[in-house]
């Protein structure tokens, strides 16, 4: 695994571009090893996806970065400085959204955000615009205790933006939100990133990660499986774009000759559609060859490698790395 990381990845980058870094971070809860010698680097200005199955140690890692959980060993560096309990100033530059978010039930969003503005030393006059940003203006004077889970999450997103931090660390930012708000939050993340912020977020919605992230880290059982761009990971795993072809001639049977066509690596069929994995440069010639063989093609499209595929493959075969 290490050799591959070196070939593909982050070690070539200069360290000045790294804003959040963990070095050999380890956390043991009694006899459970939650995070195992985790080393990772989040670079300035990127959107970094932090992935792993449930219980992989994502939240514990994020909590260690924020100083909520003490590492058993290893370090966290933010903007190149090792964090410690005595110097909490580094947190001023981080907008944080925890996984299990909760505020004070007896306060309204305005009162809640006012309080966090005070804590972060930010001007309270931004509160109305923060509330508008996440679409809560109609509930601004209701108590947070009466809010749905999604609305509390939105208050959390607003809270994270207080003080214009340059780094955002978000644990499942779209968890618990319905589709409408997922888009609001996603667009917000993109907008923040376009303005130059670095965003690290964990998620289990892989399509979302694929849509947003420049690079991802996949961890399992607390240990790093891979950290790289989605393209590099897909390439390494030999996950190729696939050709999706619809033909009423198929009727659930895959013609034997398909696999013998030049460039075809794999093929499968279901009812009247088939999926062909092939060399990306030979897509068109494969399609032509199929038509020349007399198969009537009604529709076709290319399916790009999905992170989901990579993810499943990675977790299944991680011993290979």
């Amino acid at each position: 695994m290490k050799e591959w990381l070196r070939n593909y990845g982050w070690m070539k980058m200069s360290d000045s571009s790294v804003v959040v870094e963990t070095r050999n971070l380890t956390k043991k809860f009694r006899d459970v090893l939650a995070v195992d010698d985790l080393t990772m680097k989040v670079r300035k200005g990127e959107i970094y996806g932090f992935l792993g199955p449930n219980g992989a140690g994502k939240s514990t890692t994020i909590k260690m970065i924020m100083g909520l959980v003490r590492p058993t060993s290893g370090h966290v560096l933010v903007n190149g400085k090792t964090t410690n309990d005595h110097d909490v100033e580094y947190r001023r530059d981080i907008g944080f959204l925890p996984e299990r978010i909760s505020f004070y039930d007896n306060l309204t969003p305005v009162q809640t955000l006012n309080f966090f503005c005070e804590l972060r030393g930010a001007d309270k006059s931004i509160v109305p615009s923060l509330i508008k940003d996440v679409g809560l203006e109609n509930a601004a004077n209701r108590k947070v205790g009466t809010f749905s889970k999604g609305m509390v999450q939105l208050v959390g997103v607003a809270q994270a933006m207080i003080g214009d931090p340059s780094i955002f660390i978000l644990d499942e930012p779209t968890g618990g939100l319905d589709a409408r708000w997922v888009k609001v939050v996603r667009d917000k993340l993109k907008a923040l990133n376009e303005k130059g912020s670095t965003i690290m977020f964990s998620s289990h919605i892989l399509s979302e990660v694929q849509m947003l992230c420049d690079r991802v880290a996949v961890i399992d059982n607390g240990a790093m499986v891979v950290e790289d761009t989605i393209e590099n990971i897909s390439e390494h795993l030999h996950i190729r774009p696939r050709l999706w072809i619809q033909s009423s001639d198929l009727k659930g049977n895959l013609p034997g000759w398909i696999r013998n066509l030049d460039g075809v690596e794999d093929a499968s069929v279901k009812d009247d559609t088939m999926l062909i994995t092939c060399d990306p440069s030979l897509k068109l010639s494969v399609l032509n060859a199929i038509q020349e063989k007399g198969l009537k093609v009604q529709d076709f499209k290319t399916i790009d490698p999905s992170l989901e595929e990579a993810f499943v493959k990675l977790l299944r075969n991680k011993e290979d790395y």
Partner: protein
């Protein structure tokens, strides 16, 4: 480690305004006010009694009520917020844990002290005006001792809250420490009897035969310490008509010292363990 007073103040202000908003403070003031006036009327057999008799009648209930209120205010202030998750955002802000802890103590302590001062203060005024007679020095001492008792149990409650993982466990710990305060006297009595003492000595008011160690009890039971000190504040040493001869080292000063230790030790423990805690 340097602390930022502004951060402590922000947390304290939140705790205080939360309790003002939820009308806790006004309720507490009314409770103390009504309690004092009722005690006073009881002590004055139908009329408002003087300060000394009022405090005498008030002590047994105040020594239970004040700790209960403190425990209610403080038991969940950290464990409850850890459990709900609200504290993780606070602690991810540029604020030190010690500042959060001290802010909570300061904020909730102000709730206690302010309610006690206003509740007992206004009733003191009523007594002074109605009876035309006041022992302000002693009464003020009584009010200060009540505040100290409130802070003492608040410190214990916050300590449990900072150390224990779950809200319900810290509540249980609060209830335990409350009952321990209630039974310290009985334990000492039991020990006295087991070492050859007799209940008659106590009932007969002949305290001269009591061994020295028996009088250490007010140092170990904060509620009894408070009661004893408040009596001493009025120069009162007779209970139920019996004159108690106290050893010279049992006085307001030593009892206050003991209560300060009772306040400081849990607080120090809370600080140390809260800093190490995973949220």
């Amino acid at each position: 480690m340097s602390l930022n007073p502004k951060s402590i103040y922000i947390i304290a202000k939140k705790e205080f305004s939360d309790n003002a908003r939820s009308r806790w403070i006004i309720s507490l003031i009314l409770i103390f006010l009504v309690l004092t006036i009722v005690s006073s009327i009881m002590a004055g057999s139908g009329k408002i009694g003087n300060m000394e008799d009022t405090v005498g009648a008030l002590l047994s209930i105040a020594s239970m009520l004040v700790p209960v209120i403190s425990i209610m205010l403080g038991y969940a202030t950290i464990s409850g917020e850890v459990e709900s998750g609200a504290l993780s955002i606070v602690l991810a802000s540029p604020i030190k844990r010690l500042e959060v802890l001290l802010g909570k103590l300061l904020g909730l302590g102000s709730v206690m002290c302010f309610s006690i001062l206003v509740g007992f203060g206004v009733s003191g005024l009523i007594i002074a005006v109605t009876t035309g007679h006041a022992q302000w020095g002693s009464y003020l001492l009584f009010v200060l001792l009540t505040m100290l008792l409130g802070l003492l149990y608040l410190s214990l409650a916050i300590c449990f809250s900072a150390i224990l993982k779950r809200r319900v466990v810290s509540l249980a710990a609060g209830v335990m420490i409350f009952f321990m305060g209630m039974i310290v006297g009985m334990v000492f009595m039991g020990a006295y009897m087991a070492t050859g003492g007799s209940l008659n000595d106590f009932g007969g008011g002949d305290t001269s035969s009591f061994p020295d160690w028996f009088w250490v009890e007010p140092f170990f039971g904060p509620q009894d310490g408070y009661g004893t000190a408040a009596m001493l504040a009025f120069g009162q040493t007779d209970v139920l008509g019996f004159e108690f001869v106290l050893p010279p080292w049992l006085n307001i000063f030593t009892i206050t010292l003991a209560q300060l230790i009772w306040t400081a030790v849990p607080l120090a423990l809370a600080c140390i363990l809260f800093l190490k805690r995973d949220i």
